[in-house]
């Protein structure tokens, strides 16, 4: 009982020094008055003083009593209430344990979810200027180009002409090979303006950020490491500053290490300034206004809102469009917008987190109703005790306060257990949230979360304590007069109302769980269009400098692919730019094209499609189906360009006509590609996303720097990693393999977050139903106990056992039916809010509603049945005799 010791100490400190001094002064002045009075009556000062002290008695004792009476009304009464409450709770261990368990579940679930919401949605970004950061986005809406990057020239214009921004920095992502003594590794590299970290407001953990002179042409190449890369790849080496690495045939020196903050726009291993990136520093990138390959992050001037920035940016965009009409074709449309970085970092997490928060709030409401129900039942048992206390003179307020003290004590203890549960689950919480947002690392049970848990606990205690405290206002003295049975009726009415609430809440939760589970099943059953089993995927990214021409790249990839195919256990192998459900491919890899014989009408935008590079064996390797025509082969080279399109492409761009034999050109007629086959659609960008229009061209034609290697294996795909590595070593030992996973893993991880959400909500719903069933059974069996005599009389007068069972069940189900109605109506309103979380199921899906109705009715029926059977077993003679 450390809480009590704490209170005892509190009592001591509240009697402040001010109190002691005032008491001292007051008692001394009393003595002085007394002495003066005695002198006035003729005593000598010495005699007067002695006499006054004598009549005063022990000063210490008087002070002690004063101290006691000062504290007695407030803290002593609380102290008494608490001791009494604790004693009472110990007397009812099963009640106490049950209440503590449900409260711990309810408050723990809320605390856990709140800790995520707090870290991810509520708290300011952990950057010094976090709330002023925006991302600038351009689109060509009429051309269906919704996420197009920015070019270096455009960033320059925005930077110089947008008054509401005090800085605009650029970012793009590259994969480079990093060489050090140990070998080659692939690093994801953020290429940023020199002042990038200063603008977003990140102070390096070690070393410095980039400086303007790092960004000069021919400046020595420098690197900043992310915290995770520094820890994982370099073992957190404290002397890493100044260490050198080889990248792109240049020596790079480490100048800084970032602190462990979430990185925006994405988590990278290392950062380099724009000048060090061989791609970005090329003349084409810096001069061509349409090379829109980078992102732009701006910082609002203090006090300026994002709307101002949007309209300022639009003005600049219109100015650019009229100055360079070639770069901004009117037919494609062109506009610019700005989004706050905070929203961008959390937009995927928001709907799921809010749905979970609502779920746990409902669970807590249900817990309150259930505990209130248990408490009323227990109060009926305590009716005599409370009535006795009233009769002995306990004030009305004091008894209500006593009951509230008990419920608050319980809820605080339950809350403490709940926080413990949330703390135990913190690893799971972070893993869960990491699927939605890079801010997951910030999740912690900190002061704010504890405060939240404390407030929720106290409110919970008040909520379930108040109902019983007030329900007993009138009948307090009746308890003595008529025995416990007289107060059964008001208690039962309150308990039935609570059952209505519990059933309604369970209904809403079950509907939520049902919809999430159905939507997950729909997602899992989606026809992905490919066969995921026995396929290994990995990425090979060539050294930018060593393989600086298409010929050199082809000279690498062709023998590499042949070498893999020769390895034992490999059925087929393919190269491509990406694979279905690949998380790391950007979505805006689509291009405009023209169709031979169908010149674009004046002012009409050209059609767009995803152009994908794939080696001829790609389709068979991942199990795609040829619908018409033929695959392309190695014979379809530069002299006779051939392509395979997917069904969506054929439908959208050729409608009724046969696309086979048609020719399309991605470069205004410089090259024409003949469509030779149609394949089925695959889920490229996500299970819930509609397939995009795709056109596959032979891999060798593109000569890209990096490729996905896909290998269909006879046995366990992961067992073939070594074979592929051996093949790679034979061609170029300095090339690393990265992102090794099986296609099956890719598919599973695409389902992981909807599965987790569905499982969590379903768990909460099951807890809710169990609690509700226990509540119903409790109320019905309570009423059977109260009515033993009445039932005995009925049976003595000729009621059959089945009539008694019918009556009990009917009366037990009455509040359930009301609860089902309320629940169905609320669920129909509430689920609409969650429609963004659902896939291929309506928020008011009738079969889900019917199923939930059935389940709850059945559960309620079962909960009523056992006490009803007990009622039927009552022996009328015994029941009457007991009276």
């Amino acid at each position: 009982m450390t809480a009590f010791t704490l209170l005892r100490r509190l009592r001591g400190t509240i009697r402040t020094r001010g109190f002691e001094q005032q008491m001292d002064a007051e008692l001394r002045s009393h003595l002085e008055f007394e002495i003066e009075e005695r002198i006035r009556r003729g005593a000598s000062p010495v005699e007067a003083r002695a006499a006054a002290l004598r009549t005063f008695g022990s000063l210490a004792q008087v002070k002690d009593e004063c101290r006691d009476s000062w504290g007695i009304r407030t803290l002593d009464a609380l102290w008494q209430d608490l001791r009494y409450a604790a004693r009472n709770l110990r007397k009812y261990p099963s009640y106490t344990a049950l209440v503590l368990l449900t409260l711990a579940l309810g408050i723990g679930a809320n605390t856990a979810i709140f800790s995520i919401v707090h870290a991810v949605l509520l708290r300011a970004l952990p950057y010094a200027s976090g709330d002023r950061l925006i991302e600038v986005r351009q689109r060509q809406p009429l051309a269906g180009n919704t996420e197009m990057g920015l070019s270096a020239k455009e960033i320059e214009d925005y930077r110089q002409q947008t008054a509401s921004l005090d800085a605009l920095v650029e970012y793009h992502l590259m994969g480079f090979n990093l060489l050090d003594g140990a070998g080659a590794s692939r690093v994801q590299t953020g290429v940023v303006s020199y002042n990038f970290f200063d603008v977003i407001g990140v102070t390096p953990l070690l070393g410095r950020t980039f400086r303007a002179d790092d960004d000069r042409k021919d400046a020595p190449a420098v690197l900043i490491l992310s915290y995770a890369y520094w820890q994982n790849a370099l073992g957190g080496d404290p002397h890493v500053i100044g260490r050198v690495f080889h990248m792109n045939d240049k020596v790079h020196t480490v100048v800084g290490v970032l602190p462990p903050v979430p990185q925006y726009p994405e988590n990278n291993d290392v950062y380099m300034p724009v000048s060090a990136c061989p791609f970005r520093s090329s003349a084409m990138m810096s001069e061509d206004r349409t090379m829109r390959m980078v992102s732009a992050i701006g910082r609002l001037r203090p006090g300026v809102g994002v709307e101002r920035a949007r309209s300022d940016l639009s003005v600049v965009a219109r100015r650019m469009a009229s100055a360079y009409p070639d770069a901004y074709p009117a037919a494609a449309g062109f506009d610019v917008t700005a989004l706050t970085v905070k929203d961008e970092l959390t937009k995927r997490a928001r709907p799921t987190l809010l749905a979970l928060l609502a779920t746990t709030a409902f669970v807590l409401l249900l817990v309150c109703a259930n505990v209130a129900n248990l408490t009323i039942a227990r109060l009926v048992g305590r009716a005599r005790e409370l009535a006795l206390r009233t009769a002995l003179g306990a004030e009305r307020g004091r008894i209500a306060r006593q009951l509230l003290t008990e419920s608050t004590l319980l809820s605080l203890a339950g809350g403490a257990l709940g926080v413990l549960l949330a703390w135990l689950a913190r690893g799971l919480l972070v893993a869960f949230a990491a699927r939605f947002t890079p801010r997951a690392g910030e999740i912690a049970i900190d002061g704010t979360v504890l405060l939240f848990a404390g407030i929720v606990s106290i409110l919970t205690g008040l909520a379930f304590g108040l109902a019983p405290a007030f329900s007993r206002k009138r009948d307090r003295l009746d308890g003595l007069r008529d025995g416990p049975r007289a107060i059964a009726a008001p208690g039962l009415r309150a308990r039935n109302a609570l059952i209505v609430a519990q059933v309604a809440i369970s209904f809403v939760l079950l509907i939520g769980a049902g919809l999430m589970v159905r939507s997950f099943i729909n997602l899992a059953r989606v026809d992905t269009g490919f066969t995921a089993d026995h396929v290994l995927t990995m990425r090979v990214s060539l050294d930018f400098v060593k393989y600086d021409s298409e010929e050199k790249r082809r000279a690498f990839f062709r023998p590499f692919l042949d070498a893999i195919e020769r390895q034992p256990g490999v059925r087929s192998a393919a190269l491509s730019q990406s694979f279905p459900l690949d998380q790391s491919t950007p979505q805006w890899f689509n291009t405009t094209f023209s169709v031979a014989g169908h010149p674009a009408l004046n002012g009409q935008p050209l059609p767009r499609a995803d152009f994908k590079l794939a080696s001829p064996s790609y389709f068979q390797t991942i199990g795609m189906t040829l619908l018409r025509g033929r695959w392309f082969t190695d014979a379809d080279d530069e002299r006779a360009l051939a392509a395979v399109v997917n069904l969506s492409f054929a439908r959208h761009h050729f409608g009724g006509t046969d696309p086979i034999g048609q020719r399309v050109s991605p470069d205004d007629g410089k090259h024409w590609i003949t469509i030779v086959g149609i394949v089925n659609d695959v889920k490229q960008y996500g299970l819930a996303t509609k397939p995009s229009d795709e056109l596959y061209v032979p891999f060798v034609l593109g000569g890209p720097l990096s490729a996905t290697v896909l290998v269909r294996t006879a046995g366990d795909p992961m067992a073939s990693v070594g074979a592929v590595q051996a093949a790679l070593r034979g061609v170029d030992p300095r090339q690393p393999l990265s992102e090794i996973e099986t296609l099956e893993q890719v598919r599973t991880s695409a389902l992981a977050s909807p599965r987790l959400t569905a499982v969590l909500i379903a768990l909460f719903a099951i807890v809710a139903v169990v609690i509700t069933a226990a509540g119903i059974a409790g109320v019905v069996s309570f009423s059977v106990n109260q009515r033993t005599t009445e039932i005995g009389v009925r049976m003595a007068l000729g009621a059959t056992r089945s009539a008694v069972v019918g009556m009990i069940v009917r009366q037990g189900l009455a509040p359930v039916v009301a609860g089902l109605a309320v629940g169905a109506a609320s669920a129909a309103l509430l689920t609409r809010l969650a429609s963004t979380l659902l896939f291929a199921v309506e928020p008011t899906d009738p079969s889900t509603f019917a199923a939930v109705l059935g389940v709850l009715t059945f559960v309620a029926f079962v909960a009523c049945a056992a006490p009803a059977r007990r009622a039927a077993a009552i022996d009328p003679m015994q029941a009457l005799r007991a009276e």
Binding site: A25, V62, C66
Partner: protein, 110 residues
Amino acid sequence: MKNPKSDLLQGTLDLLILRTLASGDMHGWGIAQRLQQVSQDVLQVNQGSLYPALYRLEQQGWISSSWGDSENNRRAKFYQLTRSGRKQLAEETATWERVATAVARVLQQA
């Protein structure tokens, strides 16, 4: 609570203090003097009861206190009756009179 007898005496003292303060603000010593005077030396209030009673009454909100100067310019803590103190005084006086009458009746007739 431990000793019902002292509770009864305490209640009576509370009533007497409230009544005394009803005729004007007073410091602790003044209250004691006044009680002694008015009761013609029958009621002699011990400081060990007076001050705890004053503190208790202040905690209950029936009286409030402030520091001021006495008639012979000595700093002293003065007590005054609050609104709820007046109400309490009225109620307790009524109860007291009823009980006193009842007790008197019992003593005369039993």
